[in-house]
């Protein structure tokens, strides 16, 4: 088990190193002058502000220092939580801008991932043993997984938002409101949250349901199931064993799909102008705000790594083989 976690931590550490290095390398080795292009885009008119920005950017990039020193400084700044200053929202530090967006993204992602996983697995296992349900659910599941997140989001926004007028189609809360602790505001938040959540949930749900359905069929045909059946064990018991075995690969699947789900959340937020990280990234791209873009990138990487680690821990809890060290290779 120590070996298993040791390996995992090594991979995560190296991944983080690679991510930070990509982040550091790209502005330095790309053609053109990033400082100049950001200043030009910033559209700040006061000379004092322009000078402050130039000094800050040059200092952050440390372009006059030797490369290895620049690299070191980049890490040092990173550990102080200093990701530079946003061009788009000058002079707010990037860290603050990101921290404001993160709660919205998490509020979308965490329930969407967990609920779709749970419901998809339940439904897949349920559908696998009823042929009429299997025949109708399977095609729907395939269509759902194949749907691009933003398209389902657009369809939902159009159908339930514009045509039916049930849900608002953009923003995190109504323009008329200011964030505060009241039931009215909470209700407004929930109303704006529902459609982006639903589009994420539905696409992911299809994938889990199909995966689980295939796994359950595979497990029910396995030798231990037929053996149990021939011993006269009740079908319920066999299904319970099959479910427990089928859930393990689904946990690995969850780790593999995290990046895709995060990507889905980003484009979904863009459709709904939901004030999370995805919306922020779009603004950063459109305003050529590279510090903000880099900050968001690092944040996503750290988030995905942390979530992967949680899944690893869960895996150890559910799969006894990992605890005895055998699964270190497979997982």
């Amino acid at each position: 088990m120590r070996r298993y976690f040791g390996r995992k931590l090594l991979v995560y550490g190296l991944t983080f190193l690679v991510a930070v290095t990509i982040n550091w390398m790209i502005p330095r080795f790309m053609p053109g002058d990033p400082v100049q292009s950001m200043l030009a885009r910033a559209n700040v008119s006061q000379p004092a502000a322009v000078e402050a920005m130039r000094a800050h950017y040059t200092g952050l990039f440390g372009l006059d220092l030797p490369l290895w020193q620049q690299y070191g400084n980049f890490w040092a700044a990173l550990f102080r939580g200093d990701l530079g200053i946003s061009v788009w929202l000058f002079p707010t530090p990037v860290t603050d801008v990101i921290m404001r967006a993160v709660p919205y993204t998490l509020a979308l992602l965490v329930p969407a991932i967990l609920l779709s996983w749970w419901a998809g697995n339940r439904f897949g296992a349920f559908a696998a043993r009823r042929s009429w349900l299997d025949n109708t659910a399977l095609p729907i599941g395939y269509v759902l997984t194949a749907t691009p997140y933003m398209w389902l989001a657009i369809l939902l926004a159009w159908g339930l938002g514009v045509v039916a007028g049930v849900f608002p189609v953009s923003g995190g809360y109504s323009f008329a409101m200011r964030p505060n602790w009241s039931w009215e505001f909470a209700g407004d938040l929930a109303l704006h949250w529902f459609l982006p959540f639903a589009s994420l949930f539905l696409v992911a749900f299809g994938g889990w349901a199909i995966g689980m359905r295939n796994m359950i069929i595979y497990e029910l045909e396995a030798d231990y199931s037929t053996y149990l059946a021939s011993l006269g064990a009740p079908a319920r018991l066999i299904r319970r064993y099959a479910f427990r075995n089928a859930v393990l690969p689904q946990i690995t699947g969850l780790a593999l799909q995290l990046g895709v789900l995060v990507a889905g959340a980003l484009v979904t937020e863009i459709v709904f102008s939901y004030p999370g990280l995805g919306h922020l990234i779009l603004q950063a791209i459109q305003n050529q705000d590279f510090f903000l873009l880099q900050g968001a990138f690092l944040f996503i990487v750290v988030g995905v790594l942390a979530a992967n680690f949680v899944i690893d821990v869960v895996y150890v809890l559910v799969d006894p083989r990992t605890r005895t060290g055998m699964g270190g290779e497979a997982a």
Binding site: I210, G253, L258
Partner: protein, 301 residues
């Protein structure tokens, strides 16, 4: 990346050692497999449309040809955009780009995945450790986030380069799956025999190991193909796609940006998304069909 969770490495039926010589048998089951045929029935017309379509629609898909925002009619099958561009023409050209990105991106990812998977699985030892580490690193790095950064800074605006970057980031799960399969084949008798008779490593891999998992390789490519299409659509939608020309993702982007939703121009945003869904969905269904064709255990007789 966008692997159907049902066929991720751990869940895939072990090695499905295909029936070698009996080519006809696979064909026999292929033409009787409903899923495979249904997938093809969706995919082939779209492919034909993508290849031959520009003949129907004429030159520039972005040309302003008709009254703006007009609904579908016998004249303009998919109506026009807010600017009077023919949605059908854009759709047809977008399909082309979609197939090209899928083939190039998915193909490159499949090649990288195969090289790394075969090498790691066959060689084992230190080579395996290093390649495994590399695979795991790229696997947990969120590909879209990397593509965002690279794309935004380098300002890449061509289909080829986009496909290149997608290919370079989406191979890890394929490499892992192929490695696992190679691992299980490596110690079989026929491989041992080849090794004893002094056949070179690459010949063993290409003549002995790869043919035995050819069906699995085909399915891996199909999933990578679908995944590339979805990633490309997301990038285009964010505005990091090719700047000239059209793609299905870019059409969605334009429709959303010029508030087609609020104006009720559904014919602008329904076709591109439906096109992507149809292609990728057909690929996934075909994948299941192929699995049944190649794997006798799964056949429903």
């Amino acid at each position: 990346m966008t692997a159907d969770p049902g066929t991720t490495p751990e869940t895939a039926p072990q090695a499905a050692p295909a029936v070698p010589a009996r080519r006809n048998e696979a064909l026999y089951f292929a033409v009787r497999n409903g899923k495979l045929l249904a997938g093809l029935a969706v995919l082939l017309p779209l492919l034909v449309l993508a290849v031959a379509g520009p003949l129907l629609t004429g030159g520039d898909p972005n040309a302003y040809v008709a009254a703006p925002a007009s609904p579908p009619s016998s004249e303009r099958w998919f109506g026009t955009t807010m600017f009077g561009q023919d949605v059908f023409a854009q759709f047809v050209y977008g399909l082309r780009i979609t197939f090209v990105v899928g083939v190039l991106g998915g193909g490159l990812a499949a090649v990288i995945g195969m090289v790394i998977g075969f090498t790691a699985g066959y060689r084992g030892g230190l080579v395996d450790e290093v390649l495994n580490m590399l695979t795991n690193i790229v696997l947990v790095l969120p590909a879209l986030a990397v593509l965002l950064i690279v794309n935004a800074y380098l300002g890449i605006r061509s289909v080829g380069v986009q496909a290149l970057f997608i290919g370079l980031t989406s191979w890890p799960w394929a490499a892992r799956a192929i490695r696992a399969q190679t691992f299980s084949l490596r110690s079989r008798d026929f491989v041992d025999l080849a090794r004893l008779s002094g056949v070179s490593t690459w010949k063993i891999i290409s003549r002995e190991i790869a043919p035995n998992m050819s069906s699995y390789l085909v399915m891996t490519f199909i999933l990578l193909f679908g995944g590339s299409i979805l990633i490309a659509a997301s990038l285009d939608f964010i505005g990091l796609g090719p700047s000239q020309g059209v793609s299905l993702g870019l059409m969605l982007n334009n429709a959303a940006r010029w508030s087609a939703l609020h104006l009720g121009l559904w014919w602008w945003f329904v076709p591109p998304g439906a096109g992507i869904t149809a292609i990728v969905g057909a690929l996934y269904v075909m994948n299941v069909g192929l699995d049944e064709v190649f794997n006798p255990k799964l056949r429903e007789l």
